[in-house]
């Protein structure tokens, strides 16, 4: 989505919603788990696509975050009764079990497939169209780029890794709670891509670094990582501009 000039701060919705819906369905049957997971994928895609169609670049960033927070607040209200026991609420839902080694191999495979897919898309027609829209929507329309179709494809391409990551997250912990939509998880991909300077590979490494840094800092003082996140958000536009200007100057010298 970054390529079409839309950056979301609420990707936790794409990440969490299908898997949360699937887990709710798993309370009743494995079939319902699959059906609700897929329905969650479709619904989260439609919501993000509508946001990208109806809002500008800045509004999109915050609207997605606000929406995720709304889901975070609302999801504990989802409670079911099964065999005389209550399930859901703030505790969340259980998830099908899977062996760790199989899960980690699957996660690596998905990561590789997504990298290959993105590399392919980048140099394809649709990749150039996305880049053009990211640069200038009006100009893109004037050269005949179908904005609706390109935006829809871009949102879909952004959804696929988020849905996959959510599914792996669920299998890893065997449990899904409303915390999956929290602010910290919402802004995490945003922060990771900022630290990774928008480079997909660097963003993966910065994700690892942030997870470990978060564990260390939060053990020193609970919530300390939140301050680091805030600082990154405040400073990133200034640093980004500095890097851009510096890069241009270096280019001119070259």
């Amino acid at each position: 989505m970054r390529r079409i000039g839309r950056i979301s701060m609420g990707h936790s919705f794409l990440f969490g919603f299908p898997v949360f819906a699937g887990a709710a369905g798993y309370t009743f049957s494995a079939e319902l788990f699959i059906q609700l997971f897929l329905a969650g994928c479709v619904l989260s895609f439609l919501i993000f696509y509508l946001f990208s169609e109806l809002t500008g670049r800045t509004a999109f960033v915050f609207l997605t975050l606000v929406f995720s927070i709304f889901v975070w607040v609302a999801s504990p209200k989802l409670v079911f009764e099964k065999d005389g026991y209550l399930t859901g609420g703030e505790v969340g839902f259980s998830f099908p079990a899977i062996t760790q080694s199989r899960l980690h191999i699957t996660a690596i495979l998905i990561l590789v497939v997504i990298f290959v897919l993105y590399r392919y898309v980048e140099k394809s027609r649709i990749g150039y169209f996305m880049q053009a829209i990211g640069d200038d929507e009006t100009s893109s329309r004037a050269v005949g780029i179908n904005l609706r179709k390109t935006k829809a494809l871009s949102v879909l391409l952004s959804c696929v890794p988020a849905w996959s990551a959510g599914l792996i997250y669920g299998f890893e912990f065997g449990h899904i709670s409303p915390e999956i939509f929290s602010i910290e998880i919402s802004v995490f991909p945003f922060i990771a891509s900022l630290v990774g300077a928008g480079n997909p590979l660097l963003s993966v490494f910065s994700s690892f670094a942030l997870v470990y840094l978060s564990k260390i800092l939060n053990s020193i003082y609970p919530g300390l990582m939140g301050i680091v996140y805030s600082l990154i958000l405040i400073l990133s536009p200034k640093i980004g501009r500095w890097v851009y200007v510096k890069g241009k100057r270096l280019g001119e010298k070259g």
Partner: protein, 216 residues
């Protein structure tokens, strides 16, 4: 080829265009001239689908294209070039041109055609240059070539000479002559009609949203 019929555009109850009627034949180059605020750009933007008309119709090759999406307008064979060039900033000159023809060509073919066209129009040396490092004149040429490469049969060029010095204006005029030689129809807007004397075959004056005179 193009027929504009009783076109009206209002903004905040102010009439920007009042019952505009004119036609363009295949291969014809028309200059629409008039002072600032006369409605020239609005007229072109409505034809290009970038703004909506309040009433009236636009027909291109017999098909009504009034208020359809800009990408459908391009699909039908019309393309618009902005007065202030709007290149894709993160792309090179070559990529900017190639993107314009990717709608109907494969990526590699699009790059080949873009290169061939740039060489033909004498700007082959700019292909590798980043679009944010182009001079004003080079950006204007990029803007016009990009609209041409959409496969358009009729180009809508909004004030292509605005803000250009004599040298750059001469450079641009040469390129417009090449396009004219290729049989591409054009509607070109300008403050002054003199600047387009050698290129345009017909001149239309637009003043305060009203079509005042038409002549050769």
């Amino acid at each position: 080829m193009l027929r504009v019929k009783d076109l009206v555009k209002r903004v905040d109850n102010v009439l920007l265009l009042r019952n505009i009627n004119f036609e363009v034949e295949k291969g014809e180059v028309i200059c629409i001239y008039g002072p600032n605020g006369s409605g020239k750009s609005t007229l072109l933007r409505i034809i290009a689908g970038l703004e909506r008309a309040d009433s009236g119709n636009v027909f291109f090759r017999g098909r009504e294209i009034t208020n359809i999406s800009p990408w459908d307008v391009v699909e039908s064979g019309l393309a618009y070039a902005f007065q202030i060039p709007r290149p894709f900033r993160s792309m090179t000159f070559h990529e900017n041109l190639a993107v314009a023809c990717m709608r109907y060509l494969e990526v590699e073919e699009a790059f080949d055609l873009a290169e061939k066209t740039a060489v033909e129009f004498g700007v082959g040396h700019l292909l590798k240059r980043s679009s944010d490092r182009l001079s004003q004149g080079e950006m204007k040429i990029l803007e016009i070539l990009r609209s041409y490469l959409t496969g358009a049969e009729l180009l809508l060029l909004d004030e292509p000479f605005a803000g250009l010095d004599v040298e750059n204006a001469g450079m641009l005029r040469e390129r417009l002559h090449i396009l004219k030689g290729k049989g591409v129809s054009m509607i070109i807007t300008s403050h002054r009609k003199r600047i387009l004397h050698e290129i345009a075959g017909r001149f239309i004056e637009l003043k305060e949203g009203v079509l005042y005179a038409e002549g050769r």
